[in-house]
């Protein structure tokens, strides 16, 4: 291709600059990942305890609440969690792809709630109904945000604007692995009842419920929903930083490989140019002698 030494040198400079940027982004993402992961781990005990309380109430049998009611599904609400920024490898693309497949395969109409700019930017130009969007997450995990989103979903479900609320988000598995998952948020119930059955029978523990079983339930349920969203956001952020770190690490490595290859090419071109010049000079001299 380019015998042109100047062109190759220019390309090499550009790649070297790119590498500096990707390496910086990799390190920044690694730091953010550590913090996000810590936040996720720190939030898990509360979530587990809340689920525990709800399961125990469910096990005691005295639970009836509209949020627990499953009814025939004639409309769905899909909450799509993406990042605000790109350069995160397959992170956003995977979510969008699975969301589209879900929309296509659903036998009932589906409305979207877009959390995160990337998902919103994609779907706002498509022929889908977006009920609500949170396009600016600001990369900060906030309880208020989780409550805002949770409240909206509960409202939609109770008003029968939808019969099922499903979350689609990337779950953090490890530093190198994240996985997209669908989770049914509303109606609450299936996973609660399952963990109710799994509860160890602690002697004959009859719990006092204050002020009353139904008051506790009424207080628990909305908190449970907003906490689920909080944890989902925590997972999403953690997975996002891990995805970006992986992507930038790969990009950096590609830059290194390209640098090697192009350096070789450049040196070969440089030597070829020198050889050509020598030949020209020598043959010129020979011609003069003759």
């Amino acid at each position: 291709m380019a015998e042109n030494v100047k062109a190759l040198r220019r390309r090499l400079r550009s790649i070297r600059n790119t590498k500096q940027i990707t390496r910086a982004m990799e390190m920044v993402s690694a730091a953010k990942l550590r913090r996000a992961q810590a936040a996720l781990m720190a939030g898990r005990p509360y979530a587990a305890k809340l689920k525990d309380l709800l399961s125990r109430l469910a096990a005691s049998g005295s639970v009836a609440h509209p949020l627990l009611e499953s009814r025939p599904v004639s409309k769905r609400l899909l909450v799509v969690f993406t990042a605000d920024r790109g350069l995160a490898g397959a992170f956003n693309a995977q979510i969008i792809k699975r969301a589209e497949a879900y929309l296509r395969e659903s036998t009932v109409p589906v409305e979207l709630v877009c959390v995160g700019k990337k998902g919103y930017d994609y779907f706002k130009t498509k022929k889908v109904s977006i009920r609500h969007a949170v396009p600016d997450l600001g990369a900060k995990l906030s309880i208020a945000r989780a409550q805002e989103i949770g409240g909206l979903l509960v409202e939609a479900f109770l008003a029968a604007d939808c019969d099922e609320v499903v979350l689609l988000y990337n779950k953090f598995v490890s530093t190198l692995v994240y996985r997209s998952e669908f989770e049914v948020l509303l109606p609450l119930g299936s996973d609660i009842k399952a963990s109710a059955e799994a509860l160890p029978i602690r002697g004959s523990q009859e719990f006092l419920l204050e002020p009353s079983p139904s008051a506790v339930l009424v207080a628990l349920l909305p908190r449970f929903v907003s906490n689920r969203i909080y944890i989902t956001l925590a997972e999403t952020f953690t997975a996002e930083h891990s995805a970006r770190m992986i992507a930038m690490s790969g990009a950096t490595r590609n830059c290194e490989e390209l640098t090697e290859k192009l350096t070789l090419k450049m040196n070969k071109a440089r030597q070829a140019a020198i050889t050509k010049e020598i030949i020209e000079i020598v043959s010129g001299a020979e011609a003069l002698k003759a």
Partner: protein, 92 residues
């Protein structure tokens, strides 16, 4: 010698307290109640008010809570607080 039990306080963000105490007074939804060692199993909804902790060294610590839940089980009091502040936090 008063008996001690474990108090664990969580907010959605993190664990805030995890230590043995002598007694805890909490603002229930319908009034204050106290928890001592070996309290009967309980799940209570919390309202807004002061959480008063008598520590094992006989000191007293107060926190402000605004909503949440308290569970007593197996001699452990677990508080899930919506908001938790020390009086100092609020004065600033």
């Amino acid at each position: 010698m008063a008996q001690r039990f474990r108090l664990v306080v969580y907010t959605q963000e993190a664990e805030v307290l995890n230590r043995d105490v002598l007694s805890v007074t909490l603002p229930g939804a319908e009034g204050y109640f106290g928890v001592l060692a070996h309290h009967a199993p309980l799940v209570a909804a919390l309202g807004k008010g002061k959480m008063v902790i008598h520590e094992t060294d006989d000191s007293v610590n107060e926190y402000l809570v605004d909503g949440g839940f308290a569970e007593v089980s197996q001699n452990v009091l677990t508080v899930l607080a919506d908001k938790l502040n020390t009086a100092a936090d609020l004065e600033s």
